[in-house]
Amino acid sequence: MTGIGRTCGVAAAAIALILAVQARGEERPTSTQKTCVTEECHAGYAKKPFVHGPVGLGDCKSCHEEVDAKAHTYKLTREGRDLCEYCHLDQTTKKNVHEPLKTGKCTDCHDPHSSESKAMIREKTVADLCVKCHQTGKDVQFPHGPVAVGECTICHSPHSTDHAKLLVDEPTNLCFSCHVVTKDELSQFEFVHKPAKDDCIGCHNPHGAANPKMLKADAPDLCFSCHEDIRKLATDSKHKHSAVTENGGCLHCHTPHASTVEFILKDAPITLCESCHKDQVKTADGKVVPSFTQQVEGKKYPHGPVAQKDCAGCHSTHGSENFRLLIKDYPQLFYAPFSPDKYALCFSCHPESLVLTERTSDLTDFRNGDLNLHYVHVNKPRQGRTCRACHATHASDLPKHIRESVPYGVWNLPIQYQKTDTGGGCKPGCHQPFTYDRTSPVTYPDTVSPAK
């Protein structure tokens, strides 16, 4: 062989040897070993803080069965879940099973050799592990506590459970396991928002949300998602209430969880209304709503609903087809031809017989003998006096909240109503002074009779 040929042969042999050594790594044992985890081989398998039992004992054969000692090849002693369940209890006994477990892929989540975690999971934390498949709760502005601390297993079972979505308990029980005070307090309240009782995730995203308190949406949109009827009223009515439709709407008046006040109001209705209507308010279409508080403050005789602090007695808070958000029809003017329909608002509390009955001794004390003076004033085909002609809508300083004065063009004509034990009288600008008495009826000549 020539010198060049010899050199090439040696070089080739050396290269082959190097490659062979590299391919083999450490020299493989060619006979059965007592343990596989040594400093030279598979050392990494036992380096992490938590070591799987068989690895710690050096009993690799628990899971790996020798196929060919010379070739140093092994196979798993059992397939899939069977291998793990040989030692570990069956984790699939419940109704809903986590997918990796269902398909026998325990090692998708668990490292069978050693781990940074006592639960032998493949990642450092539970959150790091779950996020490999589940993107829920990632990058939300307001995360739920368990999500923020990266501990999905507080709420979800990683193996199997009888509850949907692999929850460890029924959803509401689960929420109350941390939110204990809320659960105790709810039992003390008569009026509870239904989702607060048994469907917290109806409003709250359990992983987190872009809205504070992890709400799925802002009020009123969130509320409208269930309360479609209110949404229609609020958005489609002829007269809208801006307190409902603006951002945060419903929560101006309602509490989302529980209250001692019906309709889970935050306070007595009048207190809520006065938070805005203490002062004059301008509506969206430029109309001015006078201050309610100024109308009632210090007045001796409030109208019933005002005395009961119940503005909803007359007003529809969400929206209305009637002016001033009234719940029913009511004449806007001083005079109106009488028909019961026009006075639907008043007749929802006061009987319509009050105006329909000419003679009575039961319906009202506003009578001259048995002549019903409400009938006389209101029940006219052309110029019936509407209730507001005499009564202040909210309150006044006169008995029966009779108005102190009536507007008449640019004037305010005093009514000067006076009540007696058996009757009363007034000296308004509308007619000459009249008095009435239930027991000794006052007689007037026909030409000036109030009945005309």
Binding site: H179, V181, E185
Partner: protein, 344 residues
């Protein structure tokens, strides 16, 4: 002379002041003819189907009366709510009467179509000609009246406001002796953003994390709880335990010195945690002294006995340690003899 004028003026001022003071009440009359404190008049009403109700003074029974107009808005809802109130009260107490009176021309028709079971619970009577309405001097409906067993009118309320039914319920309860003191409706809401609610949710989360050995995360949650309520004893005690588990003994001891425990249980727990920290720092005598004091407060505490056992074990005194451990097990399982014999 001036003194006399001054005296008369003074009485005038007092009179006006009294009237003004009473004025808010004057405007709130629910009935024209009957007032709170009056004797409820006897009455009797008969429906078209022959049903009769009599209220008579010879019977000492509480009466709940609800006047309703035949055109009443939300009539069905009102009737249902009153039925619920009646059923609740009937389950708690002896008999009382609760009736509704419907005034107006539609009264008979309304009663004819009424559900029988509902009518049994909350019977209603017809007043189509407003005779009863006039007798009481009703102004508007609904109006509720509660009359005590002594026939005195206890409460009148007109208007289906937010506190109409709750008020009726409370006042009937008061008349029946079920409610003591103030029976007025309180206004309260549940906003689970109270300090206590938030603090407790942090505490619960910390406990859950601690069970999962997420000690640092658990301590972060407890730190948040402490920021909300720095004086919370339960938070401080949980925090102390976590600090001991994490080997932060100095911090645990410092925390325990700031705890203002009031109950014996909490005091014992403070001593236990301090002893735990002392043991871990090697001060076994101090630990033993604290645990002995703690045992005086909580004689059967398995935790304290166990910790005392650990102290003895650390000293190398196996007999004393075993004795403490057996007592701890007995405290949990309740059979001291069996625990002792199982070791033989």
């Amino acid at each position: 002379m001036w003194a006399r004028i001054y005296g008369r003026l003074w009485w005038l001022v007092v009179l006006i002041g009294t009237i003004c003071g009473l004025a808010p009440l004057l405007g709130q009359e629910g009935l024209r003819r009957i007032h709170v404190g009056d004797t409820m008049p006897e009455f009797s009403l008969t429906n078209k189907d022959g049903t009769t109700f009599r209220y008579e003074h010879k019977q000492a029974r509480v009466l709940g009366l609800v006047l309703i107009g035949s055109g009443q808005t939300h009539l069905e809802r009102l009737a249902t709510e009153i039925e619920i109130v009646v059923q609740k009260l009937q389950s708690e107490t002896a008999a009382f009467d609760c009736v509704g009176v419907i005034s107006g021309s539609g009264a008979n028709e309304l009663l004819r179509t009424r559900d029988r079971d509902a009518a049994r619970v909350f019977p209603m009577l017809a007043d189509p000609n407003f005779a009863f309405w006039g007798k009481l001097g009703a102004i508007a409906t609904p109006t509720a009246v509660v009359v005590g067993a002594d026939h005195k009118v206890q409460w009148i309320k007109a208007g289906y406001g937010y506190d109409f039914v709750p008020g009726f319920h409370a006042q009937l309860g008061k008349a029946l002796g079920l409610v003591q003191g103030d029976a007025s409706v309180r206004v309260e809401t549940l906003e689970n953003t109270s300090v206590q609610a938030r603090r407790d949710s942090y505490l619960q989360l910390a406990r859950t994390l601690a069970k999962k050995r997420r000690l640092e995360a658990a301590m972060s949650e407890l730190e948040r709880a402490r920021q909300l309520d720095p004086n919370a004893v339960d938070v401080a005690l949980d925090f102390g335990e976590l600090l001991c588990r994490a080997g932060k003994n100095e911090a645990a001891l410092k925390m325990m010195t700031g705890v203002k425990a009031e109950s014996n249980q909490d005091k014992a727990r403070v001593m236990l945690i301090s002893a735990w920290a002392q043991r871990q720092t090697g001060d076994l005598n101090a630990a033993e002294a604290l645990l002995t004091k703690a045992l005086a407060l909580e004689r059967d505490s398995a935790r304290i006995l166990y910790e005392l056992g650990k102290v003895h074990q650390t000293r190398g005194d196996a007999d004393k340690a075993l004795s403490c451990y057996r007592k701890a097990l007995a405290a949990v399982f309740g059979d001291a003899e069996a625990v002792g014999s199982s070791q033989k």
